[in-house]
Symmetry: C2
Subunit: 357 residues, 2 copies
Amino acid sequence: MAATIQTAGRLARAAGRRRSIRDVAELAGVSVGTVSNVLNKPSLVAPETRAKVEAAITTLGFVRNGSARQLRAGTSRTIGAIVLDISNPFFTDVARGIEDRLAEDDFILILASSDERVDKERRYLRLLEEQGVQGVLVSPAEEDLGWLDQPRARGTAIVLLDRPGPAETMCSVAVDDVRGGELAAAHLVALGHRRIGFVNGPTKIRQCADRRKGVRKALRAARLPVARSLVEVTVNSLNADGGEEALERLLQLADPVTAIVCVNDLAALGVMRGLRRGGVKVPDEMAVVGYDDVEFAAVLTTPLTSIRQPRYQLGRAAAELLLAEAHSRGHQHEQILFQPELIVRESSGPHQLVPMG
Amino acid sequence: MAATIQTAGRLARAAGRRRSIRDVAELAGVSVGTVSNVLNKPSLVAPETRAKVEAAITTLGFVRNGSARQLRAGTSRTIGAIVLDISNPFFTDVARGIEDRLAEDDFILILASSDERVDKERRYLRLLEEQGVQGVLVSPAEEDLGWLDQPRARGTAIVLLDRPGPAETMCSVAVDDVRGGELAAAHLVALGHRRIGFVNGPTKIRQCADRRKGVRKALRAARLPVARSLVEVTVNSLNADGGEEALERLLQLADPVTAIVCVNDLAALGVMRGLRRGGVKVPDEMAVVGYDDVEFAAVLTTPLTSIRQPRYQLGRAAAELLLAEAHSRGHQHEQILFQPELIVRESSGPHQLVPMG
DNA sequence: TACCGGAAGTGAAACCTTTCAAAAAGTCAG
DNA sequence: CTGACTTTTTGAAAGGTTTCACTTCCGGTA
C-alpha cells in the first residue's frame, strides 16, 4: 500500500551543540543574569541593552532550554489531558476547548488517549507527572478513582473530565445526561406521542444509565405510565447496525411505538435507515430523536433531531478549573454540570393524533 | 448554560516539596548514583540493593523529575505534532497512528493544532523546541517551508505530514491525491458513464488541485474528450450546502451528467440530499462518488462510494520516519506516498447504457 | 565636593538528575 | 595469604536556567 518514491539526501545536522544563554551573554557583552531578565522581565533591562541582547538571540538562533528553566524555576507551562478516545469527536471538541483556554495563559497541552484501558491511563499519568505538568484533566476509564489519590497528594492538580466528581474532594466538569434523556423524551411527549421506543446501550455505561433515567423521568413528569408508554430495547453495539437491529424488534410489537429515542446518533442513523427501507415515513409515521448532535445529523436527507452537548465549553471550563486549582493555593473545589440542549429538526414532527387507548 | 452545583472542600495539598532521588537514597541507605542505576540500568545493581531501593521509592511515592533528567541526559522522550485541525477526523486518525507507534518506543506525543494559522504554527514549533522534543511532525498551513530551516539547523528532526516534501532534503508522508481522483473517475468510466460532473473546491488547495488532476487523467486514459465528458463545478465551501448548490448547477445543464465525483464526502452528502429532494434515483439515474470515506459514508440510506485514505497508517509511518531521523545519525531522507483505495458502495451502480453521442 | 537613592547589571548558588572515574567489596586460583 | 580479577557502589562534576543579594553607575541635592 505504501510506496517509497524517493530516498536520498544526507542529513545536514548542525554541528555544534545548542546555543545557551551563556553564548548569548558573551556575544551581547552582558552577564547571563541580564539575558535571563530580557527573557523573563524585560522591563528591568535598559532599552539599549535589551536591543543588544535580542539581536544576539536572533543571530545565534537561541532557543531557551525548557528543561533547565523548569528545573530551576520549579514550574512548567504544560497541562496534561488523558481522554478515553482521541478519535471520538466528543473528545476532539473538548480538547479544542481545553487547548484554546490554555493558549490564553500560554500553557500547552499534552494530549493522551487511554483507549479506555486502565494500564495506559496510569502509564500516561506517570509520564505526565515526570514531565512536571501543572495538572491533568482525566476522563477516567473506570468507576474507581483511588489511583488518583497519590498523584494528588504529590501536588498534581487533577480535574475530572466528563464525569461528575465525588462532591467536595475534587473539581469536575460534566454534562447532565439525565437532563439530556429527559429533554429528548419530553419533546416527544409534548408532540403528542404516548408510546415511545428507547434504543439504549448497556446500562453499566454511565451515560446510558443516566439518559435512561432522564427518559423515564420525563414520562413520569407527564403522568404517563412508564410500563405502558416506554419500550426499551438494549443493544450491545451502539452503531448504525445496532440501531437497525433494535428497530426491527420495535416494529414487531403488537402495540407499535410512534416515536423512538436513541442513545446516540449513530444508532439513530441505523433506525432511520431501517425505516426508509421499510417505507415508514419520518416524521409522519415515526418520529426519531438522536443524541450527541454529531456533524452529519444536520445534513441528512431528513435532518435528525438530537441532543447537543456543549463539548467545546466543557473543555474550556475544565481547563479554567485546572488553571485555577494549579495556581491559587486556597482553592475551593467545584463541580460544574453543563446542561445539554435539544436541537429540533425534521425527524421529529408533530404526531398525528390517534385515538388513545 | 453551565451551573455550579457544588462548591466546597479545601485543597489538601501535600505539604513538603517533591521527593528527590536523594531522599530515596537516604531512606534506602545507598548513594544517589545507585538509585539512578536502579532507575536506568537495573542490571548493574545487586538484587538485594535493588529491592531496598525499590521499596524506598514506593514508600516515598518518588516520581522522577523529567526536567532534571532531560537536562542532564540531553535527550527527551517526547515528539511534537502540529496538525492543521485537531477536530478533523482525518488528523484524529493520523494522530492515533502516531501515538501508537510512539508508544512502542516509550515516547509520548505533544499534539498541537495550528488551525491553519501560520502564527500559531510557529509559536507551537518554538514551544516544542523549548520543551526539547526529539522531533516534530508538521502538516504545514502554507506552501512555503522556509520557516522550518532554522529549527532543522538547530537539530530538531522534522517530518512533513500529509504533504509530499521537496525531494531529497527532508522526510515526508502523504497520500497520493492524484491517484485518488483517478480512481474515482476511472471507476465511473468503467461503469459506462461518459459525462461526469466534478464538484471541486478552490484549486489553490493542494488536495483539490491534485484530485482534479487525477480525474482528468482518468478520462484521458480512457480516451474520452475531457472538454466534453467532464463538467467541473467549483464551490467555496466544501460542505453539504456547497454540494447541494453545485448539484443545482449540474442539473440545469442542457446535456446532463450521469455521474458526479465530489472532492469530499460532505459535499457528496449534499449532492445526495439534493438528488433525493429532486426525486432523482441513486444510483440508477445518477451515480455519486465521494472522497475521504468518513464514518457516515457507509451507513447512509444509500451507502456512499468513496475514496479511503490510510490515515492511521499515515500516522504510523510518519512517526516511524521521525524516530529514525531523530535516532540514527547517517539518515537517508524518505518520501513516502500512500495509495488511496476505492470503496465501492451502492451510490455508484452501473450506468444504464444510453446511445452515445 | 560629598553623599544619597534608584536604576541597571552582575555572578554565584541552586534546582535534580545522569555519568563516569575510581574506590570498595567480593571471588577465585595459586 | 596474595594478586588478579570482576562485580558493585560511590561521590562529585556537569548540564542551562533562574534567582537574589550585591555591586556599579548616574543624576541630583545638600
